[in-house]
């Protein structure tokens, strides 16, 4: 009875994991013959300044995403954990970005941020109608913001669920002892959310390492290579420059970095069993 699931999963998910290792040692243009390459692809990737830059950009993007999305989601989630009706309404509306495909979001922000006809021109403030996506200094930060627009709602949900799990009695006891809201937040809410923070940060980090479609449609990696992160570099190398071998090397780097980060995060925080508190 488990056979169909095993077959499908094994063939299209497990087999490719071995496949990508094998493909990193061959030359293949995606259509023609496959020939043995030895370590050529690995050397080429290591010496490629574009790919090295892509790895650096990915790390930078990941750090910025964690720093932006983490605190905002935590604060919003804790706030929305309250049971007031208007907070429920806010929670309903906050969810909306999750319904849009990345392609839709990217297209919307391309138009919205247009320096000549976008929303920046609605007010007569020059600063707002910058060439947000065309300026290599700004583009990565704009990408981080748009990614936040998409995914903060998801992490807010996680924190909302996590906060609602904190027993009410703890707060009551703290109030009796005269702890104000700020003290309660730092002494109770934050420590009690430890596992939720680990979960959310892990998901955020692994997610940030693999963001592809949004950046692909929003900037295509540009201007220049200013937003050409690793997954994008992999796609462009494989499916635009027809170098599947080198692209496989980049894919492997992605997997290894992703696994290392999520294992590392769990080790540092000592939360090897994240499931104990995270059920919404």
């Amino acid at each position: 009875m488990a056979a169909p699931a095993l077959l499908l999963f094994g063939f299209f998910a497990i087999l490719p994991l071995f496949g990508v290792v094998a493909l990193s040692f061959v030359h293949w243009d995606g259509l023609g013959e496959i020939t043995w390459a030895g370590l050529d692809n690995w050397k080429a990737a290591a010496n490629d300044s574009v790919s090295r830059n892509a790895l650096w950009l990915t790390i930078k993007l990941t750090i910025l995403c964690v720093l932006f999305q983490g605190p905002v989601s935590l604060l919003l989630g804790v706030f929305l954990a309250g049971r007031q009706r208007y907070r429920a309404l806010l929670a309903t509306l906050f969810f909306l970005p999750l319904l849009f495909s990345s392609a839709a979001v990217a297209i919307t922000f391309t138009a919205l941020l247009d320096p000549n006809f976008g929303a920046g021109t609605a007010l007569d403030v020059d600063w707002l109608s910058q060439n947000w996506l065309g300026d290599p200094q700004l583009a990565l930060y704009v990408v981080v913001f748009v990614i936040g627009w998409c995914f903060i709602p998801f992490h807010t949900l996680i924190y909302q669920a996590g906060t609602r799990q904190i027993p009410k009695e703890i707060y009551e006891a703290a109030r009796m002892d005269g702890a104000g809201p700020v003290a309660q937040f730092f002494r109770i809410t934050l420590p009690m959310l430890k596992y939720t923070i680990v979960t959310s940060t892990t998901l955020l980090t692994v997610g940030s390492l693999t963001y592809f479609d949004l950046i692909f449609v929003l900037t295509g990696g540009g201007p220049g290579n200013a937003t050409r992160v690793l997954p994008l570099d992999m796609y462009l190398t494989g499916f635009r420059s027809y170098d599947m071998g080198k692209a496989s090397v980049l894919a492997l780097v992605l997997v290894v970095v992703g696994l290392a980060v999520s294992l590392g995060l769990n080790k540092i925080t000592g939360a090897s069993r994240m499931d104990s508190r995270s059920e919404g």
């Binding site: 497990i14 706030f79 297209i107 922000f109 009410k168 707060y171 992999m234």
Partner: protein
């Protein structure tokens, strides 16, 4: 779940300001999509981008619908429906095996599934492309459906297994005593009882598949197999300066998910939070 938290004992002014500010950030782009899609194309260049259109019109929607939008819509419906149905079916069968078996196989099947959640599609896409080409499925809807099922199995299996574990053992035993086969137990007992879990994970997976971009980008090519997210991207290239039409396509593409959200909000929200962290 606790009924109350500290946050509702007294007004939290700072929090409220932050939350309403974030609401503005969420709503502004959505409002912009909507008003721009109603703007006549010439007015797009002259009117204030955030104003209500003076000559609101549905022309942009008509231009989108005249450009094969319904075909792309139908493709998305087929891919999403078949993927979700198949994923639920094979995962429910596997979840039943995991829950019923006490042996090495059942336990490890579950472990593999847990690991599977961590496999990013991006990392597997090149071999998946290779396999699809070898199978002669390139540029067909099946090329999207098969890998989408495969990558949705781990989370679906996880959620269904956790759900089935909660069912009382005695239910299975009494049916087995009556001489029911495993298949009969699955169809008569497990399937009806699992309906809430199937709805939760089904709605969630539907959202994922409906909005998926990488598989369609890599595994299909022609307009006849194009699905919605990819069509938005190609509309952007095709219509170029016709921004109202591009954003009208965005509105049309999100309508089914908006309907799902209104009708099955609880399932969608719990589906999103059910799988994380395990």
């Amino acid at each position: 779940m606790a009924k109350n938290t500290a946050t509702d004992s007294r007004p939290n002014v700072l929090g409220a300001i932050g939350a309403w500010l974030w609401l503005a950030i969420i709503i502004l782009p959505i409002y912009y999509i909507f008003v721009t899609s109603l703007r006549p194309q010439p007015d797009y260049y002259s009117e204030n981008p955030l104003s209500w259109p003076e000559n609101a019109t549905l022309d942009a929607y008509i231009r989108v619908l005249e450009n094969d939008f319904l075909l792309f819509f139908l493709n998305s419906v087929i891919v999403t429906a078949v993927t979700v149905a198949a994923s639920l079916a094979v995962s429910l069968m596997a979840a039943y095996v995991v829950v019923r078996s006490r042996d090495w196989f059942g336990r490890n099947l579950f472990r593999v599934a847990l690991l599977g959640i961590a496999i990013p599609i991006q990392a597997a896409i090149i071999p998946v492309y290779y396999l699809i080409v070898q199978l002669g499925l390139y540029d067909t809807l099946a090329a999207l459906i098969l890998p989408s099922i495969a990558f949705s199995i781990p989370l679906t299996l996880l959620i269904l297994t956790n759900f089935l574990r909660e069912l009382p053992e005695s239910l299975f035993e009494s049916m087995r005593m009556d001489g029911a086969s495993e298949w009969k137990i699955l169809l008569r007992l497990v399937l009806p009882l699992s309906r809430p879990a199937l709805a939760t994970v089904g709605v969630y997976q539907a959202l994922q598949v409906w909005n998926g971009f990488l598989f369609p980008l890599v595994l299909t090519q022609s307009a006849s197999t194009r699905v919605l997210p990819l069509s938005l991207w190609s509309f952007q290239g095709q219509f170029g300066v016709d921004v109202p039409a591009v954003l009208a396509a965005v509105v049309l593409s999100v309508l089914p998910m908006l309907a799902a959200y209104i009708l099955a909000r609880r399932q969608l929200v719990s589906g999103l939070t059910a799988g994380f962290g395990k």
